[in-house]
Amino acid sequence: MANNKRTYSDPSYGGHKVITFGGISGATQTLATNGVYACHQFMFPARLLSANLRFGGDGIASGITDMTSMSEFQLFKSTDSGSNLEAVLGTFDPGLATGTHLMEDAALSVMICDNLTETNFDTGDFLIYTVEGDWDDPINMSIEAEVFEKFSNDDN
């Protein structure tokens, strides 16, 4: 976070950006209900507008081939160190639970968070992606978060 001499009315605050986080997990990983899969800690104040869940390859398969063991695909906000899941911001629809979700298939390699609650984050707040399940092979899930920057007093 830097002082770049902007006023609160500077229209550059409205520019939309995509923040991507997450990636490959470990093999034989287990997550309990709403276990944290990945997170992002905001480095500047921002408002979350929308989000996608993206499936990638893991070196063994080029996407998820069986989602039946996974559930609770959700986004949370945490204003502390990330241990508290304070508010559900949105749930990814697991209606595609069966079948393969390879990244070669554009439509099936993504799930859109279609009930997202737009939410403000201060610097230091966490955006947390949780899932419940266990798997033997590693999996690769990433979140693409659409945000725009909010006014920061430090910019004055």
Partner: protein, 165 residues
């Protein structure tokens, strides 16, 4: 995509940003001609200005590879292109946005270890606008036994959206 009270003339639309997509593939992966390797679905209207491919490290669970060690094992490097799709990603529309030239198929293409050889730019780039929900597709033709890790960085500027008014 949200209403944050901007007009079409807001200079915030001109800010450049980078969107990265792609990543590790699977072992024994095959892509036919212009087969989709990875994609991004736009969440706000944007214009793509440039792009490049980056090679990353990959493991099959036993061995780590720090990039692509020999492109000859990847088969035919054809159709290494960026394309647009305005439907669910199955249609590859309009002309090619950009093509990457691998400058030969031998040699070692390390990831972080060699800045100059760890990425290839898309050339002859056609700047292209995307609406929210449109896909940008990274395609190639290949067959791989060990998995590979290709990422695409695209430079975008946000386009005006009526709902911002």
């Amino acid at each position: 995509m949200s209403d944050n009270s901007r007009t079409y003339s807001s200079p915030s639309y001109g800010g450049h940003s980078i969107i990265t997509f792609g990543g590790p593939s699977g072992a024994a992966q095959t892509c036919a001609s212009n087969g989709v390797y990875a994609c991004h679905q736009f969440m706000f209207p944007a214009k793509v200005l440039s792009g490049c491919i980056k090679f990353g490290a990959i493991s099959d669970g036993t061995t780590w590879r720090t990039g692509i060690e020999d492109c000859t094992e990847i088969g035919i490097w054809g159709g290494v292109e960026l394309l647009r799709s305005t439907d669910s990603g199955t249609g590859k529309e309009i002309t090619v946005i950009g093509t990457a030239d691998f400058l030969g198929d031998t040699g070692t293409w390390l990831s972080q270890g060699d800045a100059g050889l760890s990425q290839i730019p898309f050339e002859d780039f056609n700047e292209t606008s995307f609406d929210a929900g449109d896909f940008i597709l990274f395609t190639c033709q290949m067959g791989v036994d060990p998995a590979i890790n290709l990422k695409v960085d695209i430079e975008v500027v946000e386009n005006f959206v009526n709902s911002d008014n």
